[in-house]
């Protein structure tokens, strides 16, 4: 018995060390994201600027005003936005994979991205601005239409299949997103003048984002991710199949709706503010599972951490490689992500 408890505590210790390492890497990447660029800024200066800004202190004169506004107005919101978007996408990807019991599922499977793209496309083409929303018209309509698509797809699935089986949901999602994609293609082919903006919006970018977007998204992710984590036990149980989950006492249909809605909202709002960025939501959950096992109370927060870190790194690459122009970050994620994922996943598989 004694030996068993020692073994358990060793596992806990190793896990703690891994978490600490992950957090340190994250902080280093965040600092790199703020520090690297046309004007390099040292970590020490970044700390001083953040400290003074947050606590309303005067900034020491050795740091120029340009540096301060570079950090505070441009790079910090950009890095934070990338971090939150990456985190929200990854947390939501984890949930989708477990709820739908499918390692290839993500919110995109259910049509969030195509719905959002159609909404955004219509806003761009017709130049719609809703006066109360102002500049937020595009993201908010993107979010609403993304969520609406998921809602329609899942409702449709639950109508044709009372038990809401996973395969029905996935198929309904695919049908809806393909259908909506084709509408978008038709709409954009008829509005060639706006084609470039639509395409660029879809590629995803964190450029020229302000604090308002950061704050809105931080609130959504700050509420959404903990709400998901509260359902970790249910998520664990649901990966064993729907019948078993019910037999163990999970109110399956209710929990499923709730989690699908939450993760669609997380992805939807991330997409609305940054465009369609793929890949993170699909792979970070697998990386987190490889390192920490499948238990969701670790996998959900840690995939969020990994996804955020990874997104900041991808954005850093996207904006520095061919500076002063930028690469689309959506392409960069897969460009660095795919080989990295292949390395981690298959190397570990061989050993384990």
């Amino acid at each position: 018995m004694q030996k068993q408890y020692i073994l358990i505590s060793m596992v806990v210790m190793r896990r703690k060390i891994k978490v600490l390492i992950s957090i340190s890497i994250c902080i280093i990447v965040l600092l790199a994201g703020i520090g690297i660029g046309s004007v390099p800024i040292s970590p020490a200066d970044i700390f001083i600027i953040l400290w003074s800004k947050l606590f309303g202190r005067a900034i020491p004169p050795k740091i120029s005003d340009i540096t301060v506004s570079l950090v505070w107005k441009l790079r910090l919101p950009r890095v934070l936005l990338a971090f939150i978007v990456g985190g929200a996408l990854s947390a939501s990807g984890t949930v989708m994979q477990s709820v739908l019991k499918n390692p290839l599922a993500s919110s995109y499977t259910l049509g969030v991205s195509s719905g959002a793209a159609l909404g955004a496309g219509i806003v761009i083409i017709f130049g719609i601005t809703i006066s109360i929303l102002g500049r937020l018209t595009l993201p908010i309509i993107g979010l609403t239409s993304g969520l609406l698509t998921v809602f329609l797809a899942v409702t449709f699935a639950s109508k044709i299949d009372k038990n809401m089986e996973n395969n029905t949901i996935i198929l309904a999602g695919m049908v809806f997103s393909l259908f909506i994609n084709s509408i978008l293609t038709i709409v954009s082919s008829m509005a060639k003048g706006h084609l470039e903006r639509i395409v660029f919006w879809q590629m995803g970018s964190f450029a020229s984002k302000d604090w308002i977007s950061v704050i809105i998204l931080a609130c959504i992710a700050g509420v959404g991710i903990p709400c998901v984590i509260r359902f970790s036990r249910e998520l664990d149980i649901m990966t064993f199949g729907e019948e078993q989950a019910q037999a163990i006492g999970v109110e399956l249909k209710k929990v499923k709706w709730y989690l699908l809605a939450l993760s669609a909202a997380l992805t939807g709002s991330a997409v609305a503010f940054s465009g369609i960025i793929g890949f993170v939501d699909l792979i970070t959950p697998h990386v987190a599972r490889k390192l920490f096992g499948s238990t969701h109370r670790y996998v959900v927060p840690l995939s969020a951490l990994f996804g955020g870190t990874f997104m900041v790194a991808a954005d850093l690459v996207a904006r520095t490689v061919i500076s002063p122009s930028e690469l689309p970050v959506g392409a960069v994620t897969a460009l660095i992500g795919a080989p990295f994922f292949g390395y981690i996943y298959f190397k570990r598989r061989k050993k384990g």
Binding site: A247, E251, S294
Partner: protein
């Protein structure tokens, strides 16, 4: 404790079970046997409240269809046949999931000492204590089966429903499991209902046998009162008694 009356149920509006009625009292074990597609699994699913039904299934005088999931799951555990596993957990974690309704405390609090000990006890019962830190994806089919059986024990139910629990198990583990299940139900007057394909094992597990044929109860009760070569022949369309006797004769040639 469980009373089924005029039960009809099935999938997509087609009834698989047609007009089944029976009573199960506390402390008894029941083996369900019958040819493929005769409704054994469907019957278990209906009792576990997993599929809609017509007629009535009452658990301690409460209609299953009107009970909440949690209420059912605190009394009835159900182990379906193994499906593929996508995400791996340790053996210990998997069995701990059976404590879902019993665990108190938030998501991040460690399971209580009582829960941990209970899980270890369940693992011990199926002989998996040694493997408790292994990943379930690295287990053999038989070991995995025993993990899931331990999880139904961890649920602390009054009734355990097992769909082919001895599937994937070697002979030694089949017999051990059957003996353990008998002991488990006998100890606290609980009920185990198991679907078996092996008629010998069914007879070893319980005297009471429920025989399904074409979605109807062909016989229910002490098998010694109705087992008879001709009767089983009409249901299984092979001469089971002769088959068994032939096997026996083959064994008699060995020392």
């Amino acid at each position: 404790m469980l009373s089924v009356k005029g039960l009809f149920c099935g999938y997509n509006g087609v009834d698989v079970i047609k007009d089944a009625s029976l009573d199960i009292t506390a402390g008894e074990n029941i083996s369900i046997i019958g040819p493929n597609g005769s409704g054994k699994t469907t019957f278990l699913r209906a009792i576990a409240g997993l599929i809609p039904y017509k007629g009535s299934i009452r658990l301690d005088d409460k209609e299953i269809a009107q009970m909440k999931r949690k209420e059912i799951a605190s009394k009835i555990a159900f182990m379906s046949q193994i499906s593929s596993i996508y995400f791996s957990y340790t053996v210990f974690e998997t069995v701990m999931l059976g404590r879902y309704l019993r665990m108190k405390g938030g998501v991040f609090s460690e399971p209580s000492k009582k829960d941990k000990e209970f899980v270890l006890q369940c693992l011990n019962a199926v002989g998996l204590t040694e493997l408790k830190d292994r990943q379930i994806t690295s287990l053999s089919g038989g070991q995995l089966q025993r993990v899931f059986i331990a999880r139904t024990f961890a649920q602390e139910p009054e009734i355990i429903l097992l769909d082919e629990p001895t599937n994937h198990l070697d002979l030694k583990h089949q017999i051990e499991l059957v003996e353990y299940l008998k002991e488990w139900s006998h100890k606290d007057r609980r009920v185990v209902v198991g679907v078996f394909h092996d008629i010998n094992l069914a007879m070893q597990f319980s005297n009471k046998i429920l025989l399904f044929n074409n979605g109807q109860i062909a016989a229910y009760g002490d098998y010694r009162t109705f087992f008879d070569g001709d009767f089983l022949k009409t249901i299984y369309s092979i001469d089971i008694k002769n088959y068994m006797l032939n096997s026996l004769r083959r064994w008699e040639n060995y020392g």
